[in-house]
């Protein structure tokens, strides 16, 4: 019985066309990344530190950063506040389903370039006036992508590649204002977008549980963090709680992020507030509205930022300023659908 052969039989000349004309901010080269990863420590050593230390050691002016979670879910608010407090400058940012994180970084004047899928909005809550201004004034340089495209750019990096094919963006202005290349499939001859791998300098992910070495578990949707954790050259973990290593080893199939990806582990309970931490606490909609309102007026905004970010010592103080344990207990009840 003869079976068909779907293979390519003869050499074929094809053309790679740069259809996206904006800047590709990060080097997609897998060999450069391999050189970095070759040097990266695999030492099973305690990495627990403070946020101040983690941010000052691992986030440098000019770095390109990526934040985990989705919009207002499981973002590392605490780490972003610390980036603002340390007045980090000229950061690049991967705005993969970004909402409050983008709003914060713009308010901090921290970023000057951005790979965009979703910015300036806070989903159903409305738009951030300050974030919008920053983009409309050209303060932040943009290259367009989509949520899937940025997910897959992380995936390419996580796989140790320099590119990965995809079928989105084609035919639109989104691709024209990206930095993507059009190519075709070697087997079918069909058109594909080649997405460049994205190896961020720093990834920042908030998780439910981590041990002191950085082995992490996440509950609820992982969003794109499996791939982003592996794509990032350095990785900062904030965690709701530190757990004994034995808890990780009890269910090794639950480990989403292995320790050797991680550079720093910081225990920050409620570290995602005012965002939603699955199974832990719901988003603080009132406080998020305060943010949107404060941005309406520059003076109000300056005071608001001073009060909430620059004037506080640490994230505990921010939590206390905004309702403290009572409000957090309320948000926990909301998360668990328990009527007050």
């Amino acid at each position: 019985m003869e079976h068909p052969d779907y293979g390519l039989k003869e050499e074929r000349q094809v053309v790679y066309r740069p259809v996206g004309h904006r800047k590709l901010f990060m080097n997609p080269d897998a060999d450069a990344a391999r050189e970095h990863f070759r040097q990266k420590s695999r030492k099973l050593v305690e990495k627990v530190t403070t946020l101040a230390d983690a941010i000052s050691r691992f986030v440098h002016d000019g770095d390109y950063i990526a934040c985990g979670g989705f919009g207002t879910s499981r973002i590392s608010t605490a780490a972003i506040h610390e980036i603002m407090r340390q007045r980090k400058k000229n950061l690049g940012f991967s705005a993969h389903a970004a909402t409050h994180d983008f709003q914060l970084l713009v308010n901090g004047g921290c970023i000057n370039r951005c790979d965009v899928a979703y910015i300036v909005g806070l989903e159903a809550r409305g738009l951030s006036k300050r974030a919008r201004q920053a983009v409309e004034s050209g303060e932040v340089e943009l290259t367009e992508w989509t949520n899937a495209a940025l997910s897959w750019r992380y995936r390419a990096a996580a796989m140790g590649l320099s590119f990965i094919p995809a079928r989105c963006m084609m035919g639109t202005d989104t691709i024209a204002y990206s930095a993507a290349v059009e190519m075709e499939c070697p087997y079918t001859g069909k058109k594909y977008v080649a997405l460049p791998a994205l190896y961020p300098d720093v990834g920042i992910i908030h998780v439910h549980r981590a041990d002191v070495y950085g082995n992490c578990q996440i509950d609820g949707p992982i969003v794109s963090d499996w791939d982003m954790a592996r794509a990032a050259k350095r990785l900062i973990i904030t965690t709701e709680r530190l757990v004994p290593n034995a808890e990780i080893r009890r269910e090794p199939h639950r480990t989403v992020i292995p320790y050797y990806l991680v550079d720093a582990v910081v225990e920050v309970p409620y570290g995602s507030y005012p965002a939603n931490m699955p199974y832990e606490y719901y988003s603080d909609e009132e406080h998020l509205q305060e943010w949107l309102r404060a941005e309406q007026d520059p003076e109000t905004l300056a005071q608001f930022l001073e009060r909430n970010i620059y004037g506080v010592k640490d994230f505990w103080e921010y939590l206390n300023l905004n309702g403290g344990p009572a409000r957090l207990a309320e948000l926990r009840r909301m998360e668990n659908l328990i009527e007050k």
């Binding site: 979670g69 989705f70 919009g71 207002t72 879910s73 389903a97 909402t99 965009v116 899928a117 979703y118 910015i119 300036v120 909005g121 159903a124 809550r125 738009l127 919008r132 983009v135 409309e136 004034s137 340089e141 367009e144 992508w145 989509t146 949520n147 899937a148 495209a149 997910s151 897959w152 995936r155 995809a166 079928r167 989105c168 963006m169 084609m170 035919g171 639109t172 202005d173 989104t174 204002y177 059009e182 069909k190 594909y192 977008v193 609820g220 949707p221 992982i222 969003v223 794109s224 963090d225 499996w226 791939d227 939603n276 699955p278 199974y279 719901y282 988003s283 909609e285 998360e335 659908l337």
Partner: protein, 256 residues
């Protein structure tokens, strides 16, 4: 029975969702339409959210596409790539999109108003997952108010592909064949797309709305379906479920 235009749009949209099909929704009206369909004719409509939730038993309207409601007692709390790849693989039937501008081929702008990308007059959020979903899902639906500014062929930025420049254009651009815009549900009418030209065509006019009103509120020339009808208004049952079960706090239907 009285109803507002948001209620009308949600009810009409929900009727297009077949039982035992898959749909990726965002927050707001699309989610309400999907929940309404589940309560009525499509109990096994499988709702998915971009951040990774699949098949939740939605206790209330999610505020965010990633919030805990989107995977409450769900079948899967997965990942964004999982959802996007399920779409790219051809397993997702419906999705809903919105935007600031839409042209006669169903191309959507949710990126910016203005002609200079570096200094836009107005910047919107951008694609998010819209471009992806519109590239991959079999039937793309749009719920939007209708006016001349919004329904225009002078679209400033094509964020998300409709039929691009007409029949065959999606395929020529490299997009997977056989999918694209399906229905546009506005406060004036329901529009579909002409099979030959892939241009928007009015399929049903809402009660009390005139052809002239529709024309006045559209910035391009519309086609009219040969089997043009009047939209069936929301039933009492639809309104009851929508108001009591789907959106009791009127988060969405109160916006009208």
């Amino acid at each position: 029975m009285e109803y507002n235009r948001m209620e009308l749009m949600i009810c009409l949209a929900s009727r297009f969702l077949e039982n035992n099909s898959t749909v990726v929704v965002g927050t707001g009206a699309p989610c309400a339409a999907a929940m309404l369909a589940q309560h009525l004719h499509a109990p096994d409509l499988m709702i998915m959210f971009e951040a990774g939730g699949i098949g939740p038993i939605l206790p209330s309207m999610p505020i965010s596409v990633g919030d805990s409601r989107t995977f409450y007692k769900a079948l899967v709390a997965g990942s964004m790539p999982e959802i996007m790849e399920t779409c790219q693989r051809g397993m997702v039937d419906y999705t809903f999109l919105g935007g600031a501008q839409i042209d006669m081929y169903g191309n959507i702008n949710s990126t910016m108003i203005g002609k200079d990308f570096d200094r836009p007059q107005v910047r919107f959020p951008g694609s998010g997952g819209a471009n992806d979903l519109a590239s991959f899902c079999w039937r793309v639906m749009v719920i939007t108010p209708q006016d001349k500014r919004r329904f225009t062929n002078d679209i400033d930025f094509i964020t998300t592909p409709g039929y691009l420049t007409g029949k065959g254009a999606r395929e020529a651009a490299g997009l997977p064949p056989g999918c694209g815009p399906y229905k546009v549900i506005t406060d004036l009418c329901v529009l579909g797309f002409d099979e030959e030209t892939k241009r928007m065509q009015v399929e049903s006019i809402h009660p009390g709305v005139t052809r002239e009103q529709i024309i006045e509120n559209t910035g391009f020339e519309l086609l009219w379906s040969p089997s043009l009808t009047t939209s069936e208004p929301p039933t009492a049952e639809e309104l009851r479920i929508l108001r009591e079960k789907v959106d009791p706090y009127r988060y969405i239907i109160g916006r009208s």
